[in-house]
């Protein structure tokens, strides 16, 4: 059954018939399994990976290193929750190493992002420091490469 998850992780636009054939399951089994995964929130959602640069929409993405004082009962979770509840937060991870949280946020402009960090994130009790790194260029995300497919000039060959 985990095969289904691997397939979906690779390409969630596959039809049920394609998934079923590829995983070696019946249509019904596939539908049921997916439904179950969704209900149990093993599958959290389905999203497209978009290269916004190619439609010339301005976006700015920043990766913010956040240092946090853990709380006695909930450790990092309580503070983390207060951060990720903001819609601006795209992804967030608890880290090992020299800082505690990686927060990835995106906004329309640099100012918007800076404002979020200064006015929302930094003042949260427990947050002791932030370091903001702006992403200059996206090369690859979720195994997908951000570059226009170069059409290959080639003649057909009979093999």
């Amino acid at each position: 059954m985990e095969k289904l998850l691997e397939l979906l992780e690779q390409d969630c636009s596959l039809s049920t018939a394609q998934l079923a054939a590829a995983a070696g399951l019946s249509l019904e089994e596939t539908e049921q399994a997916i439904k179950k995964y969704e209900e149990e929130q093993v599958i959290l959602g389905y999203k497209a990976i978009i290269d916004w640069d190619r439609v010339r929409r301005e976006t700015v993405t920043a990766l913010i290193e956040v240092n946090v004082t853990p709380q006695s009962e909930n450790g990092f979770d309580r503070v983390a929750e207060r951060i990720y509840q903001y819609d601006e937060v795209e992804s967030m991870y608890l880290m090992s190493g020299s800082f505690d949280l990686t927060v990835i946020i995106s906004g329309r402009t640099l100012r918007e992002v800076a404002q979020f960090v200064g006015e929302r994130l930094a003042p949260i009790p427990g947050v002791t420091g932030t370091a903001t790194h702006f992403i200059l260029k996206k090369y690859k995300e979720k195994h997908l490469v951000f570059r226009p497919q170069e059409p290959e000039e080639r003649e057909y060959i009979f093999v």
Binding site: A17, A23, E155
Partner: protein
């Protein structure tokens, strides 16, 4: 000048492939889907490409030894042992060639004397007959049957053997049928050949693309090692078609003869490609598994879809082709492919391009994206529905 009188008569007698015209049509189309070319859709894995690039950076731009780099032959020997339980000495039993194709050409040229017969099962890849002829031999075609899942049967082989038979080609897993020969099938063939001087030219270029079981080589069988020439390469297993990297393994006298010819005709296989191939052998097994799994998914989807929309298709257990029967449409293979291409803009190859046994079938290659395969299936469904409607009208 009259070149007909200048050119070698044998090469003039060899007909060019008839499917060129499909490609001419295809090249004019913009949104066509091609399931026509038999080549992996993957790019060579990066670590392998990188090894080739690195060899250039270090200035490895000279000839290698005629037989191929020692470290590559060592790696090939270890790989064959690891993956197929085949035991070949890197010193004298392995020759690195320019693709599997050169290996096939060399093998035929060092084995065949004028007038010798070479048994060629068809439908199969198109090179065996012409290369036999150029080597001075006579190809004897044996038509494989769909009801046998395009295996070569011992009865067919026996019927084709004459005192002039020098070799039999075993092209399995098969391009274009996707058929394979399992151990018991090979045993039956071996029973016919044991005790004879007939050689087997076993083209195992698709060996890694065998689904649900491991490939068995003819050379694995008792008493067959000494009468088998194994051809393999990196094109299909490691998505390295453009690197032109193949190899051939056989008893020492045969490799010695092939190396002689290779040294005159080729010198040595491309050095950059050999360095890349070393990396492929050392760290490429996981790439093979990954690609095989991908092909397998597409294979299952395509076979199921074809049967669902009414094109009878036996389950191909190897390579990356399906070979459905199109006789139910009442069309010839060529008419089918031409109409399908013109009406629905999908290219598949008429089965008769692979020899007489292929008429009534078409070859579709599923080394394409799932999206393209799904779209091709839906266009095929459309094509068949329209065809039936047309034929229904004509019939009434």
């Amino acid at each position: 000048m009259n070149y007909d009188q200048i050119l070698n008569t044998k090469i003039q007698g060899i007909k060019p492939s008839g499917i060129r015209k499909f490609f001419d049509i295809l090249e004019e189309m913009t949104d066509a889907i091609s399931l026509g070319i038999g080549e992996p859709d993957f790019v060579t894995p990066w670590h392998i490409r990188d090894a080739g690039i690195y060899s250039l950076e270090r200035g490895h731009t000279k000839y290698t030894s005629n037989a191929g780099m020692l470290q590559l032959r060592r790696e090939i020997s270890a790989y064959l042992n690891r993956r197929f339980d085949l035991h070949y000495d890197y010193n004298g039993q392995i020759l690195v060639t320019v693709g599997g194709s050169e290996a096939i050409d060399l093998a035929l040229r060092v084995l065949v004397n004028p007038g010798d017969e070479v048994i060629v099962p068809v439908p199969s890849f198109v090179c065996y007959g012409p290369l036999t002829e150029m080597a001075g031999g006579v190809p004897v075609y044996v038509e494989l049957k769909a009801e046998n899942e395009f295996r070569l049967t011992p009865q067919q082989l026996k019927a084709a053997i004459t005192p002039k038979t020098k070799a039999v080609v075993l092209p399995f897993p098969s391009n274009p049928t996707g058929g394979i020969m399992e151990r018991r099938d090979l045993e039956a063939i071996a029973d016919v050949l044991r005790g004879t001087d007939i050689m087997v030219l076993s083209d195992e270029i698709y060996a890694e693309l065998t689904y649900g079981q491991r490939h068995v080589s003819m050379a694995n069988l008792t008493d067959m090692y000494e009468r088998t020439v194994v051809v393999n390469g990196f094109s299909k297993s490691h998505a390295m078609t453009g690197w032109r990297m193949g190899y051939v393994c056989a008893p020492k006298p045969i490799i010695a003869a092939m190396t002689k010819l290779h040294q005159f005709g080729i010198m040595s296989a491309p050095t950059t490609s050999q360095y890349a191939a070393v990396e492929a052998m050392r760290n490429g097994d996981k790439d093979i598994e990954h690609m095989r799994e991908e092909y397998d998914r597409r294979r299952r989807y395509l076979v199921e879809s074809l049967n669902r929309i009414g094109l009878e298709c036996f389950e191909p257990k190897g390579a990356f082709y399906v070979f459905p029967c199109i006789r139910s449409t009442g069309l010839t293979s060529e008419a089918f492919c031409e109409q399908f291409l013109v009406e629905e803009k999908v290219a598949v190859i008429p089965g008769n391009a692979f020899g007489p046994g292929g008429e009534g079938f078409v070859r579709a290659c599923y080394a394409a994206s799932m999206k393209d395969i799904a779209e091709a299936v839906s266009r095929l469904d459309n094509f068949l529905t329209n065809l039936r409607r047309k034929q229904g009208r004509e019939g009434s």
